[in-house]
C-alpha cells in the first residue's frame, strides 16, 4: 500500500519535471540560479542597504527580505502593544471601555486585511495634500502624499559616550532583573525600576559632562516640489504597517482576553489571601499562568503577520514578494526558481519564529512548575 503511494508520487514527479523541462525549452527560459548575479536595472524606493540600479538580482532579494523583516518586526511590536491593551480593556469592569474594545475587535478582524491595506493607502495616505500643502507639525514633521518626513538625528563626535551610557543602562537592567528573579525564590522582593533609573540618569549625566551635546537635528524643509533633509517614511510602508498592526491587534486582543480569563478566580483570591497587593498578584500569579495559554496562539499570530506582510505587493511596498517574486520574475521569467526561493525564505522565517517562541514558551512553562 505504502509502496503504491510512493510509486505513484514518484511517477507524478517524473511526469511533472518532464513537463516543466519541455515547457521551459519551448519558451526559451533559462534555468539555474545564475540570474542572481545579473544586473537588476530597476530602482527600489526603500532600501535599508546600499542599492542602485546596477546592483544584482541577489541584492534585490536581500533588499526585499530586509524590507519584509522591517515591517514585520515593527508590526509585531505595535500589534502586541495595542493587542494587549485592547485585551485588558475587554476585561475592564468599566462597561464603556469594555464595549469600545469589543466594537474595535469585531470591526477590524472581520474585514479582509487586503481591503484595510488598500483603504489606508489609496483611500487615506494617497489622498493627503501634496508636499507644498503638507500638514505640518511645528514645521519639523510633515505629512503629505509622499509620506511622512521627520527630522533626522545626526550624531557628531562624542556620541560614543552616549552609546556607552545606554549600554550601561541596559546591562544594569538585565542584571537587576536577574537579581530580582533569583531573590524571588526566597520570597524577597528586590526593586528594579528605582535603581535602574538612578544608574541611567547617572551614566547619561557623566556622558553629558564628558561630551556635551554632540547631536544635531536635520530638520526637513520644502525645496521645490519635495522635501530635503530629514528621514522620509514612504506612504506604502506607513499604510502596510498601520493595517498589519491594527488587524493583528484585534486577534491578539481576543487571545489575551481568553488567556487572562483562563486563570481561575481562585488563584487571584488565593493571592489576595496571602496578602499580595493587587499589582504583585497580577505580575506574579495571574500573568505567568495566562502567558502559558497566550503564547502558542500568539506565536501563530506573529507568523500570520509576517506572512501577511506579503500583501505589500498590492500597494507596491518593496517587500520580497513585490520586488523579487514580482518585478524580478517578470524581468527574468524563471518562475520555478524564484517562487521556490521565495517560499523557502518564508518557510525558514516561519520555522525560526516558531523555534524562538517555543523556546520562550518552554521557559515560562518551567517557571510555572518550579514555583
Amino acid at each position: 500500500m505504502q509502496a503504491a503511494v510512493l510509486g505513484a508520487l514518484l511517477l507524478a514527479m517524473v511526469w511533472l519535471v518532464a513537463n516543466v523541462q519541455s515547457n521551459l525549452e519551448r519558451q526559451n527560459i533559462n534555468s539555474g540560479f545564475g540570474f542572481l548575479s545579473e544586473r537588476a536595472g530597476f530602482g527600489i524606493n526603500q532600501t535599508l542597504i546600499d542599492y542602485t540600479e546596477d546592483s544584482s538580482f541577489g541584492r534585490v532579494l536581500t533588499v526585499g527580505l530586509l524590507n519584509t523583516l522591517l515591517v514585520s518586526v515593527l508590526g509585531v511590536f505595535f500589534a502586541t502593544v495595542l493587542g494587549f491593551s485592547l485585551g485588558v480593556a475587554r476585561l475592564s469592569s468599566n462597561w464603556l471601555i469594555n464595549k469600545t474594545a469589543m466594537v474595535y475587535v469585531e470591526i477590524f478582524r472581520n474585514v479582509p486585511l487586503l481591503l484595510q491595506i488598500m483603504f489606508w493607502y489609496f483611500g487615506v495616505l494617497r489622498n493627503l495634500p501634496t508636499p507644498r500643502q503638507a500638514v505640518s507639525f511645528g514645521d519639523a514633521m510633515f505629512l503629505s502624499n509622499r509620506g511622512i518626513v521627520v527630522p533626522a538625528i545626526e550624531a557628531g563626535s562624542g556620541a560614543g559616550w552616549y552609546a556607552a551610557a545606554l549600554a550601561i543602562g541596559l546591562a544594569a537592567f538585565i542584571w537587576l532583573r536577574r537579581r530580582a528573579r533569583l531573590a524571588l525564590a526566597d520570597g524577597t522582593m528586590m526593586p528594579i525600576w528605582r535603581p535602574l533609573l538612578m544608574v541611567t540618569v547617572a551614566s547619561f549625566g557623566v556622558a553629558a559632562l564628558l561630551a556635551g551635546v554632540p547631536f544635531s537635528l536635520d530638520v526637513p524643509a520644502l525645496k521645490g516640489f519635495n522635501f530635503r533633509g530629514g528621514i522620509t517614511v514612504i506612504p506604502e510602508f506607513v499604510a502596510l504597517l498601520l493595517a498589519l498592526s491594527l488587524y493583528t491587534a484585534a486577534f491578539i486582543a481576543e487571545i489575551v482576553r481568553a488567556g487572562i480569563q483562563s486563570v481561575s478566580k481562585g488563584q487571584r483570591e488565593a493571592a489576595a489571601a496571602l496578602g499580595l497587593p493587587d499589582k504583585t498578584a497580577l505580575s506574579l500569579v495571574v500573568i505567568p499562568q495566562a502567558l502559558r495559554v497566550i503564547i502558542p496562539p500568539l506565536t501563530s499570530q506573529y507568523l500570520n503577520l509576517t506572512k501577511n506582510s506579503s500583501l505589500a505587493v498590492a500597494i507596491a511596498y518593496p517587500d520580497i514578494v513585490s520586488v523579487f517574486a514580482g518585478t524580478t520574475l517578470t524581468q527574468v521569467g524563471q518562475a520555478v526558481e524564484i517562487i521556490f526561493i521565495t517560499m523557502m525564505i518564508y518557510l525558514s522565517l516561519s520555522l525560526l519564529t516558531s523555534y524562538a517562541m517555543n523556546r520562550y514558551n518552554a521557559r515560562i512553562a518551567l517557571v510555572g512548575q518550579d514555583a
Partner: protein, 370 residues
C-alpha cells in the same frame, strides 16, 4: 392585642438602583474609571461625529456622475455605489444573463438556510441537495453553453459572484481534503504520514499570495503542452490546497481530543479502520472543532480578496477597477468604495462568527442535557 406588623422595607438608596446605580457601578466605580469613562465618551462622540458627518451629513446621495460628489466639504459619494452596484455584484456578466446568477444565489440560500437551522429535519436530503445537486446546477447555470443557455466565459465573472464562487468552492473542497490530511498525519503508515506533514507544514509556512503566484505562473509549466486551465480554476486549486492545510490542523485538534477508549471499543466491535473513522471518530471530532472550522471558513472568505493580485476581479478587485473610471473620479470615491466593500465582507464574516457561537451553545446544551 394587635398583631405584629413589620415596618415595610425601605427602598434601596436611589443611587444604587436603576440607571444611576448601574452607571455608578459600571462607569464611575473609581476615580480612574470615571476618568476613563469621560475619555471614552469623548472619543466615541468624536468618532461618531466624523463617521456620521462623512456618511450622512456631508454625503451626496443622488447624481449620475462625479459632479454630484464635488462639493467644498464632501462626504461619502454614494451615487458611485448606486451606479456601479450591478458591476459590484455580477462583474461583467452579461446583463441579459444575470437572472442565472440570481437563480444560483437563490438556490444556494434555499439549500443553506434549512441546513444551518439545527431544528429543521431532513438533513440527509438537504446535504445531498447541497453537495450533490447544487454544484452541478450552479456550474451549468453560471458557465452555460448547454441546455440553450448562452456560454459565459469566466473572464466576464466578477464582483461578489467571484468572491462567493471562490469562497464556497474553497470551503467545500477544503473540508474533505483537510480531513484526509489530518487522518494521514495521524496514520501508522510512515510514508503517508511524512507526506501529509510535509504538505501541511509547507502550505502553512508560506503566504497565500505565493501559493496563488505558484498556481497562476507555475501550474501552466507543470502541465503538458496544450493542456491549460482557466485562470479562475487555477486560483480555486490554490485556495483549496492552502485552506485544506489549515483545516487539517483544526481537524487534527479534534481527533486528538477523542479518548483512546473510543478506538478500542470500535476495534472490539470488529469495525474496520474506515468504519471506525466514519462512524465513531469523525462525528465526535468534527463536532468538537466546529468553532475552529468556522474560523477557518472566515479566514478563507477574507483571503478570497487576494485573487485580485493575480488578476481576477472579486468584489474588492472590481471596486478597485472602477476607481479608474474618470467619470467618477473624486477625492471621496476611493473611501466610499472601500467602505462599501468592507461592509459587505464584514456582514458575511460577522454572520459566520455569530453562527459559530450559536452552534457552540446549541451543541453544548445538547451535551449537558443527555
Amino acid at each position: 392585642m394587635t398583631g405584629f406588623t413589620p415596618t415595610p422595607a425601605r427602598p434601596a438608596p436611589a443611587n444604587t438602583v436603576g440607571f444611576v446605580g448601574w452607571a455608578r457601578e459600571n462607569l464611575f466605580a473609581t476615580k480612574l474609571d470615571s476618568l476613563l469613562t469621560v475619555l471614552a465618551i469623548t472619543l466615541i462622540l468624536y468618532v461618531m461625529k466624523v463617521v456620521f458627518g462623512w456618511a450622512v451629513i456631508d454625503a451626496s446621495f443622488s447624481g449620475s456622475d462625479r459632479t454630484a460628489c464635488l462639493k467644498d466639504v464632501q462626504g461619502a459619494c454614494w451615487p458611485f455605489i448606486e451606479a456601479k452596484f450591478g458591476q459590484f455584484i455580477y462583474g461583467r456578466y452579461p446583463d441579459a444573463e444575470r437572472w442565472r446568477v440570481d437563480l444560483v444565489f437563490a438556490a444556494g440560500l434555499i439549500g443553506l438556510v434549512p441546513m444551518l437551522m439545527p431544528n429543521v429535519g431532513h438533513k440527509r436530503a438537504n446535504m445531498i441537495f447541497l453537495l450533490g445537486f447544487y454544484p452541478v446546477f450552479a456550474f451549468i447555470m453560471l458557465t452555460g453553453g448547454v441546455l440553450g443557455l448562452a456560454a459565459v466565459d469566466t473572464t466576464d465573472w466578477g464582483g461578489l459572484l467571484v468572491t462567493l464562487v471562490v469562497a464556497v468552492t474553497g470551503i467545500v473542497a477544503s473540508l474533505p481534503l483537510g480531513i484526509l490530511l489530518a487522518l494521514g498525519r495521524r496514520s501508522d503508515l510512515p510514508i503517508v504520514r511524512a507526506l501529509c506533514i510535509g504538505f501541511i507544514e509547507i502550505f502553512r509556512g508560506v503566504p497565500l499570495i505565493t501559493v496563488l503566484f505558484m498556481a497562476s505562473v507555475m501550474l501552466p509549466l507543470f502541465l503538458p503542452d496544450g493542456v491549460n486551465f482557466d485562470k479562475l480554476v487555477r486560483c480555486l486549486i490554490g485556495v483549496a490546497l492552502f485552506s485544506s492545510a489549515y483545516m487539517a490542523e483544526v481537524v487534527r485538534g479534534g481527533l486528538q481530543a477523542i479518548p483512546k477508549g473510543q478506538y478500542e471499543a470500535a476495534a472490539a466491535l470488529g469495525l474496520s479502520y474506515w468504519k471506525t473513522t466514519r462512524l465513531i471518530i469523525l462525528p465526535q471530532a468534527l463536532k468538537l472543532v466546529i468553532p475552529g472550522i468556522v474560523n477557518t471558513f472566515i479566514g478563507l472568505f477574507k483571503d478570497t480578496t487576494l485573487v485580485l493580485i493575480v488578476g481576477l476581479f472579486d468584489l474588492l478587485g472590481i471596486v478597485q477597477l472602477h476607481f479608474t473610471d474618470a467619470s467618477w473620479a473624486t477625492p471621496e470615491t476611493h473611501i466610499t468604495g472601500y467602505v462599501f466593500a468592507g461592509a459587505v465582507f464584514w456582514l458575511f464574516c460577522f454572520a459566520m462568527s455569530r453562527y459559530s457561537i450559536f452552534m457552540e451553545n446549541h451543541l453544548s446544551t445538547d451535551r449537558n442535557g443527555s
